[in-house]
Amino acid sequence: MKIALIEDRISRLNQFADQEIKKSPILDIISEEKFTILLSKIVSKDYSNLDKYNCLLFHRSALENKERQSLSEYCNVNNKPLVFFSGSISSSNYRDKEFPFLYINSKDFYSENLLTFLKQCEIDDEVNLLILQFGYRWKLNQLLKLRNRLNLNLNTGKISRIRNFELVQSVREDLKNRYNLRWLDQPDLTEVSIENILELKSKLNLLINDSL
């Protein structure tokens, strides 16, 4: 697992990225001369320097619009999570229509969340941008989404299958282990009864309250 942090504003990096972040074994900080080299490659659409990274954290304004677009295309083709952080972004916004893509304000980016994100990526060997966006509350976001989905199923009377809940593994484990919802172990295409949905929803409410 390798993550690239591309920052042209060195003072901000030094001000906000503490030693623990800088020492992260999975993080490569690309700034100063390395940044200049990378930028010249990106301008000529050469992304070979980025191939080895599993996730790219870019200061948005370090690139011009044209370069941003082509970088997004590169991430799209390679399904590589991309983060643009900037001081002028008002509110973070995550999009995953084509590939995991997060816009985040630099104040939120350079926070405890970055360290938590890096540590978790190292442990899971997987990139979870939600941690960067919401920190320790990232699971809560998943729980709220799930509750919303359950509500939709209950009120529209559509047939639900386990797959429809789009459960992330850790949430699934929590629900199974803490509330003994063993039916969640069944194959993804298994239909779920209304009773099970209601049970899941009530347990979910408990889990949500506990998450606060």
């Binding site: 003072s11 900037s86 002028s88 008002s90 966006q133």
Partner: protein
Amino acid sequence: MKKLLIHNQDTVISDNHIFKIEEQFVFQIDDDFSDVDYYITYILDGVLKEFILVSDILFIRLSLSVNYLEYLGIRLAYHIRLTKGLEEKRFIPIVLVGEESYQFLGLTSELSDILFTEGIYLMRDTKEEVERFDKLFTEGRIKSLSSEKNFLEKTRVNAPANYSSHHSISNEWSIIRWAEMGSNISEMLKEDIYKKNTTSKTLYFKYLEAKHFYNNENPRQQFSKNKRESLLIPFIEHAKIYYVDDEAIKGWGKLFVDGIFKNFAEKGTFDYYKGFKKGEKKDLQFKKLTQEVIRLIRDEKYNVFIVDLKLFDEDFLQGAYPSGLELISEIVKVNPGVQIVVFTASKKAENIQKARGFGIDRYVLKESPENVLTRAESKDIFIKFSTAVTDACNYSVLTDVYSEIFSLKKIGLFLNSNDVKEKDFYESTYKKGGLLDRIFDLLKSKDKSLIEFALLTCFSILDKLCLLKYDSTQDFGKVILLNDELFCHFRSNSAVSVSTSIIFQRGNYSYEIIKDGLTNVSATFSNTLQSRSKPQPGSGTGGLIMLLAVLKYRYNTDDTKLNKVMEMKFLRNCLAGHDLGKVDRSAIKVKITDIQFLLSVFKEIADIENIFSISKKSASAK
């Protein structure tokens, strides 16, 4: 009840039976929008506005994006309350739709304050809830927001990182305002500036704008087409202007080149620094910037600098010394005659004071959204800027004056002389605080009356130097030392009549009240030393003859220059009260170019005298 549902397809109530298709708006951020606020502003200025203007109540899903916790529904509600373009409809009831409780939202949303304001409701995402609200509305139990002031008092919006400093808001606000105000700013340039400066689209800005509106009780005046003004600074011949600001790339550079300084830019006398480089350390960048600025002053003769104070991120750190001030100190070291205008958003008294320490009195603050509401106030700031720049341009010639004085000092006439009088001349003229320094200081002071003292000081130097070469101690009359070997004699017959080779007739100048018998004729000078002339009695011409004779016969100064020296000498005499003729004081106008002329005469003399001294040395060495 005309209702509208705003959602992102993830809701129970988007069913056609609950909300008809025409009562629904799908919130979907395009990839073109990097910022949620820009998208919201875009739809509230366009398609969503049309929906809202015909609605009586709004139902908005709490979540309008992939990630629930973003709560974009709450953000949208805030925008609606603060978007003036929605007129009275921005106050209509808003029902937020979701499974979350007030308490839960209070704990998990940074914008939850709005939930506790009048006209905001919360309901669960069910058909029954819509029906309940339908009924409540019909019964008149659902209220709109009745007091915006109350809303603003109860809510709070935090600034995004870049806007947490006042500096950035001011910078963006100021350029947008000037772009709007300028009748000579092209639509294309305006668009470009709007694209680069998006402050006004953010929720934070809208919130600030609304708050200031209530604090000031007046709405901000806009610049409709007929209220615009030409933002064009008139061209000034000898001025060459350079702008240093990291914000130049945000549109200031282009606004200056294509608008405000167009007259200069077209003639190649305006430019701005484009070398702020992403990813480079401040120290290295500052070094490059300073080197470039020094080169521009020395080689390209830029003489007016418009400088922002905070040029790098590091300048915003607590206690940091602003790079702009560091740059100014470097400029002043190279040439204190260079004129500087500080144009900044930094209104720290400390910085203003520090700038004054470098002799900078032109400090123009960029417009800031909380202080400027009327068109007149915006115009006033531009006028201040324009006046400061024009003043700087008018004094830009001081850069040349300083260079001239600097080159005169390099000659250091009589530095190694053993003659007491020559040594004294050297000491009083060249030493720190001496006559040359005094001339520059007097001009720099910008006090009009002091420029007259500069003229007097120039003659102190010239008179003193010429007197050194004009010996009146000889028995047979006055002697000019043409060089060390050749002597030329002048005979003196009486106290009021001096025999000279100069055919001299007093001319009249514009400031003189003409006396009978005086004609406006300039002096002519003979190349031989034979003819005689009779100076006008009592008109202070004795010193003039001494000066002109030495210039003419020792230094071969040409007649045009001699005439000009004569004119200046009369002016000097009038100023010093030596001339008995009647003069109109108000018509006496000494210009910096007059001082430059006299310095150039001194330079010529010094060069020749230097050659004499070198040849004398080499002769004695032989």
